[in-house]
């Protein structure tokens, strides 16, 4: 008696499976693609996230990134040492920070350089990493330049740069190019929106030079602190602020709020959120498709299943035959996705590191992710397969040999509305009946199209939302062309002196100072801006969109402050000054305003001076000017700290938007693939199920084209419903994202615009039509007459 030739050969039931896959390769690859995208995203984003987190952490550790930054009016050098005696302070050091204009060949160009003093010691907090050249000596006019700025401006070691300090021009010799953890993301301030490496840079100079430039002999204007591992942050900050109170603490910035770090943290959090949500979404869709396909396949294979059981195959073996289909999809899609994800992870991490300018490169391949990813997709698919194919278990071999009794026909909902139903053409009635006949599948396609449209809507809304945000802020909320800040406050009357220097069309004085607003135990550091009550540069609107003016007494606060402090109209807010020997003042909130960019409070400039600072002072002006030499003139003036041009800010933003277009494009394609696969698979399944029906129609004289268009009409009916449903779902996604992506720096209102509604609809319809065209091939190839003969169909 004979027997098996080879122990390791493929079982015939598996051969059958492989051929089944080959037969439905279009559907199989559609599912595979979704799994592949999901798992590639999972692997790439997770590995990038881990690599980025590790790199940033190592970089911070190796370069002694501070836990706390305190901006102070002036603190004597020895005070920094004394802070070390406070419990929880491991390290403390002082430095001088001053923003100065860089003198360039193009005199109209506005370039700011932040001078920061450095000792170059190994133990220095916020230590720079030397990329090129050598560190500076203790004195003299040597400087280290931050890499992004040096690269952007083509400055190299050995070059000289010229800066304007206090009305005088100084020359610095660049001895080295450095990177610094504090400026991984090189932004001048919160209002900058995006880095502009040509317009803003960091320059490390000796303490001697820095002090001289800032006019701070023997003092620092910034203190950096590192905590002990188990330090209590809030208590420690209180104690440090108390110790430095005498010297005027202007602002206390925790590590998490430090501009560059805050952006990186936000980016990493978004990366984590994406790493865990996108893959699940894709796997869910893949799982649903598999369920639908297998449940259909089991119904179609009823006799085959009966025969397998009659031959002696166990329930579990037959079930596994179908589950293996899902497993193969999960395993192969997962493996290919994991490998692709790994390949992408290296590139993505490098892209991130380049973008953020981190000199360390710690790309590690976590091979365990290969395993996780494959396991994740396999388990997901096997579970979907089991649910989809569970019908195998209820098929009794004896019953399977008989044809299944036809389902009893039922009236659909529309038929109960005779007014509507009577007016439909015969073919429209058929299409409507077909949509309602298989509710589960119609719902699945509906959900798929809704999801696709919602995702498209969300994605295509982004540029509009950003544009709208910019327009709202820079055209409606603020209208000035220049924002000029003084180094020291001046009397209001002195503002007119500027008109001797530059040609101004219109200008208003402003008073802008940082304060800490407190309500109970809730605190928020903000800049309060004092303005003319009749300011022409600002238009304030309350949360209901009604115009409001700056009150004579009290203040207006932006919505994000109101939320952070949990205060509303009429509430009193404690205003704590960073200037020494100032009593805390209580000011009433007179209005909560909408402000998309930044976090500010606004007061009448006179009241603000009186209540919080000095009478009749201003520390800057807003101006509209057509003067081409404005910048060139202003940087020569001794009391000008900075000149910000709104046009420059917008230009940076436009550049940023070009970069964004790439990621928007890829999101549109991803969403489209989802829609394509859902519609393609559902249509193919529907075709298989209705072979007999279509064959009968063919016999009646319907052409293949007519049958195709019948299916197209069914899908289009569902698509229209999907698009309509997609609007509220897209809105919900937008609301969720508005909350998730809004930060202290900006408040996003992501409500989709009409343009986005149309574009998203065009893309969605495009992908759905493409999917239907792909099924047309199948319809052409279907042998309808054979189907009529086939007992299994």
């Amino acid at each position: 008696m004979v027997t098996r030739r080879n122990k390791f050969r493929i079982h015939k039931i598996d051969t059958m499976l492989m051929r089944m896959i080959g037969h439905s390769k279009g559907q199989f690859f559609a599912v595979l693609t979704i799994i592949l995208i999901g798992i590639a995203t999972y692997t790439a984003l997770n590995m990038t996230s881990i690599n980025m987190n590790n790199t940033v952490e190592t970089y911070y550790r190796e370069n002694n990134f501070p836990d706390l930054f305190l901006q102070i009016v002036a603190v004597p050098s020895q005070e920094a040492e004394r802070l070390k005696s406070i419990e929880g302070v491991r390290e403390a050091m002082g430095r001088v920070v001053i923003d100065v204009p860089l003198v360039t060949e193009n005199e109209k160009e506005r370039v700011n350089l932040r001078l920061i003093t450095t000792t170059g010691a190994e133990t220095e907090l916020s230590r720079s990493t030397l990329i090129k050249g050598k560190m500076i000596s203790d004195s003299g006019s040597e400087a280290l330049l931050i890499e992004q700025f040096a690269n952007a401006r083509g400055i190299d070691v050995g070059d000289s740069i010229h800066i304007q300090v206090g009305g005088r021009q100084h020359t610095l010799e660049v001895t080295g190019i450095v990177a610094n953890p504090e400026y991984i993301y090189l932004m001048e301030n919160v209002q900058s929106l995006a880095p502009d490496d040509r317009k803003f840079g960091i320059c490390y100079v000796s303490e001697q030079f820095g002090r001289q430039a800032a006019g701070l002999s023997g003092s620092f204007n910034e203190i950096l602190i590192r905590y002990d591992d188990n330090a209590e942050e809030e208590a420690l900050i209180d104690e440090v602020e108390d110790a430095l109170d005498l010297y005027g603490v202007k602002q206390t910035i925790k590590q998490k709020d430090q501009l560059s770090n805050a952006i990186i943290l936000q980016e990493l959090t978004q990366l984590d959120t994406m790493a865990n949500s996108i893959p699940i979404l894709f796997l869910l869709v893949a799982g649903l498709i598999l369920m639908m396909m297998l449940s259909r396949l089991v119904k179609k294979d009823r006799i085959k299943i009966g025969v397998l059981k009659a031959i002696g195959y166990r329930n579990s073996q037959v079930l596994m035959h179908y589950v293996k289909y899902a497993l193969i999809a999960g395993f192969s899609g997962g493996s290919a996705g994991a490998i692709l994800g790994m390949a992408l992870a290296g590139g993505m991490t490098k892209l991130y590191l380049d973008f953020f300018n981190i000199p360390l490169l710690r790309i590690e391949f976590y091979y365990s992710f290969l395993l996780y990813a494959v396991l994740l997709s396999s388990v997901f698919c096997v579970l979907s397969g089991m649910i989809g194919a569970r019908g195998v278990l209820w098929i009794a071999p004896a019953d399977a040999m008989h044809s299944e009794a036809p389902k009893s026909g039922k009236r659909i909902l529309l038929e109960r509305i005779p007014f509507f139903w009577k007016r439909l053409s015969f073919s429209s009635k058929m299409v409507s009946k077909n949509i309602f006949r298989n509710k589960k599948r119609s719902l699945f396609v509906l959900a798929g199209i809704t999801l696709t449209y919602a995702m498209m809507l969300f994605t295509t809304s982004m540029p509009d939302v950003m544009n709208q945000m910019m327009n709202e802020h820079f055209r409606e909320f603020q209208k000035m062309e220049y924002n000029i800040s003084f180094r020291n406050p001046v009397h209001q009357a002195a503002a007119g002196d500027l008109e001797h220097l530059i040609k101004v069309d219109y200008m208003e004085g402003k008073l802008e100072y940082p304060f800490e607003l407190t309500n109970g135990n809730k605190k928020q550091a903000v800049s309060i801006i004092g303005l003319d009550r009749d300011t022409k540069f600002y238009t304030f609107r309350d949360v209901n969109g009604e115009k409001i003016k700056i009150p004579k007494r009290g203040m207006l606060i932006s919505e994000n402050i109101a939320n952070a402090l949990d205060v509303d109209n009429g509430d009193l807010v404690q205003v704590k000054s960073y200037i020494p020997n100032r009593e805390d003042v209580y000011i009433q909130v007179q209005g909560v305003i909408k402000q998309t960019l930044g976090i500010n409070a606004y007061m009448d400039v006179d009241t603000m001076g009186e209540t919080l600072l000095e009478k009749n002072v201003i520390n800057g002006i807003y101006a509209n000017s057509g003067d081409p030499d404005l910048y060139e003139e202003l940087i020569r003036a001794s009391n000008i700290a900075s000149v910000m041009s709104v046009a420059d800010t917008r230009a940076v933003y436009d550049q940023y938007m070009t970069m964004m277009a790439l990621s928007i494009g890829s999101m549109v394609i991803f969403s489209g693939i989802l829609g394509f696969c859902i519609v393609y698979n559902a249509t193919i399944v529907s075709l298989g199920e209705r072979e007999m029906e279509f064959s009968s129609l063919r016999v009646l004289g319907f052409s293949k084209r007519e049958i195709f268009f019948m299916i197209v009409r069914e899908n289009n009916g569902i698509m229209i419903a999907g698009l309509l449903l997609g609007v509220p779902v897209g809105n919900m996604m937008a609301d969720y994202s508005s909350a998730a992506f809004s930060t202290d720096m900006y408040t996003l209102d992501m409500s989709p615009t009409m343009n986005a509604l149309i574009m998203a609809a065009v893309y969605t319809i495009g992908f759905v039509l493409l999917a239907q065209l792909a099924t047309y091939r199948k319809i052409r190839k279907l042998d309808f007459l054979q189907a009529l003969k086939n007992r299994e169909s």
């Binding site: 008696m1 085959k304 025969v307 059981k309 009659a310 031959i311 002696g312």
Partner: protein, 233 residues
């Protein structure tokens, strides 16, 4: 010696509000090596009977014994083992797997049976050696039924159960298939049970059981079975 014994078999099932009695108190014995034809019109209960003896269905009452072992007390798993090793099915519409070749269809069955016969010999015996690599779509109905027979026989079962094996075939091909079944019965010593509504096939049987309305109305030994070639319908 009886290979199969049925005692007071009844089977009823519900169809809507009506209770259908497919089998009513049916008893019989089949001897080892017999070629049995169970004859009856549609709805006589012959298919139900075949399903119960084949371990594909359970009776409402009564018992079935194979070699004195009661199979009607078997659970799902034991019934599967029984179908796997003790019986082979041949169906009216062949029911072979469309995406497997002739040889692979046979292997599908031999792979799970305990004591399979050599595939090459079986394919040779059913006259399909030359067509072993063909898919069902490339074969005629008769050839497909041969694959079905090969698949059933290759498992080396004790009984072959054939449900209208010639029902979908033309006369000439039907005769060929019946000859093949007879050959399997005679040469391999397998007990063959054929259910059919075609009374002419009964002439070739060793035993004929006639059924009507769920009951056996006649069970007799055919003293002079005719050669298959002599049957006509």
């Amino acid at each position: 010696m009886a290979i199969l014994r049925a005692e007071h078999l009844s089977k009823s099932y519900q169809m809507g509000e009506i209770e259908v009695k497919a089998l009513r108190d049916t008893s019989f014995e089949i001897q080892e090596g017999e070629f049995v034809v169970i004859l009856g019109p549609s709805g006589s209960g012959k298919s139900t009977l075949l399903n119960i003896i084949g371990g594909m269905d359970l009776p409402t009452a009564g018992k079935v014994f194979l070699h004195e072992e009661e199979i009607t007390v078997y659970h799902e798993r034991e019934l599967t083992e029984y179908r796997r090793n003790k019986v082979g099915f041949i169906f009216q519409f062949y029911n072979i797997m469309a995406n497997l070749t002739a040889e692979e269809n046979v292997e599908l069955a031999t792979e799970i049976s305990q004591n399979p016969l050599p595939i090459d010999e079986i394919l040779e015996a059913v006259g399909l050696s030359e067509r072993r690599d063909h898919f069902p779509a490339q074969m005629s109905g008769g050839e497909q039924q041969r694959v079905s027979i090969a698949r059933a026989v290759a498992k080396n079962p004790e009984i072959l159960l054939c449900d209208e094996p010639t029902g979908a075939l033309d006369f000439q091909t039907g005769i060929t298939i019946l000859s093949l079944l007879r050959k399997v019965n005679r040469d391999m010593g397998k007990t063959v049970i054929v259910i059919t509504h075609n009374a002419d096939i009964a002439y070739m049987a060793d035993r004929v059981i006639k059924m009507r309305s769920g009951r056996i109305i006649d069970d007799h030994i055919n003293e002079n079975p005719v050669a298959v070639e002599d049957i006509k319908w």
